[in-house]
């Protein structure tokens, strides 16, 4: 047998690479290499976690109960209160878009190029938050266990998708107007998936859930959202340094 790779040693450490066991036992060099890895990974266990007070569980429970009393108010706010805020945020984006577009109209070419960069970064950061919320809905559905019998209640995701659609449309239009083809394309794909979710029944069968998952997977939407998230993070860093 060839000497195991570093990756095989790691898998073996975590109990997943039994095929190299015999080789490690017989080959002195590999045994030494594996023992070095063992020492490193064992030392990671020394990473300390701050101790909690002896009555920690009671404190968590008390805080949860306190929170629970505010839940009714909170849930009303969550389902209705933030809709105008989303619309306002999206409107602000449109105004910003128009503002930046206006600036660009009157400026000379080099300044206009700089404006384009700023405009794109502002849009990226704003859309990043919107995508994060959308991603949570998609991940919930992608990871939901199929209902063993009967149906799965997706009313929360459905409601959220419906609300996200409103802001999604506005962000997409702003991106298209600013000539940001990639963002507009991503938001267009996302809109189709959000529409599917919003138009699904509040309770879905295993087959309907599978269909929704297929829509999410076929469009590769989660991957695209994550890639966009990395761009938004980088851009956020650039914007902060402006």
């Amino acid at each position: 047998m060839k000497h195991p790779t570093e990756e095989q040693f790691v898998l073996y450490y975590y109990g997943e690479g039994a095929e190299i066991e015999e080789h490690v036992a017989q080959c002195e060099a590999c045994r030494a290499q594996y023992q070095a890895l063992q020492r490193v990974l064992n030392s990671v266990d020394s990473f300390p976690v701050p101790e909690r007070a002896p009555d920690y569980e009671s404190r968590v429970w008390a805080a949860l109960q306190k929170h629970d009393k505010r839940m009714e108010k909170r849930s009303r706010w969550l389902t209705w209160g933030w809709r105008p805020m989303f619309a306002a945020a999206a409107m602000a984006m449109l105004v910003l878009g128009a503002f930046f577009a206006g600036l660009g109209w009157h400026k000379s070419a080099p300044v206009q190029m700089a404006d384009n960069g700023v405009r794109e970064r502002v849009l990226l950061v704003a859309v990043g938050d919107h995508l994060e919320r959308s991603q949570m809905v998609l991940v919930e559905l992608a990871n939901a266990g199929a209902p063993a019998a009967g149906k799965l209640d997706i009313s929360y995701e459905q409601e959220t998708a419906e609300d996200l659609l409103e802001s999604n449309r506005l962000y997409r239009q702003t991106a298209a107007r600013n000539g940001d083809v990639a963002t507009a394309g991503l938001l267009d794909d996302l809109e189709r998936v959000l529409l599917e979710i919003a138009h699904s029944p509040a309770e879905v069968s295993a087959r309907q859930l599978e269909e929704l998952r297929r829509q999410i997977e076929d469009r590769g939407i989660l991957f695209k959202v994550r890639v966009f998230g990395s761009r938004a993070e980088q851009s956020s860093g650039n914007t902060n340094s402006l």
């Binding site: 490193v40 701050p50 968590v60 949860l64 992608a142």
Partner: protein, 192 residues
Amino acid sequence: MEDSDSVAVARVKAGDGDAYRALVDRHSRSVFRLAYRMTGNEQDAEDVVQETFLRAYKQLHRYEARASFGTWLYRIASNYSLDLVRSRKRHPQTALEESAAPGEEAGNAIHGIASDTPGPDRLLFGDEVQRTVAATLGRLSQQERTAFVLRHFEGQSIEEIGSSLGLSGNATKHSIFRAVQKLRRALEPLVT
């Protein structure tokens, strides 16, 4: 433990809200440990504990006893920790303002573990290996750190981690390998 969790879950589903306390009692410390390892920040870890139990309560009707309650709960906790770390990265200014205690240097509050300057918590580590482990974990990418913490400390399978992170099995393995390589580079001179 799993049996008694199932009993408590069944009671909560049947309308006995107080039965949820048994689940909080059994799992809050381990959720805190997971959250702290993932976020590297004590206050964030506390937020994760609260939010995890609230989300779990709200979504309990979805929990089907195929996986253990603990596994399901830790998945909620790790997903929320990940969201929190992402949002902290995206809004560094806000996070600094929120996290810095009076008189505390803001940079330490947000970078915590990754910072080169020891904060009060880190001074308690007292040991070079512990400091190096903490600093290296703090320098890993979010994906590497999450995948590594879930594999090393939580013992989750590659498949479970991939499912939480939305990654393929290979991508999950590579995240773990990269994390191990970085830890190895930093720790080998100290431990060998």
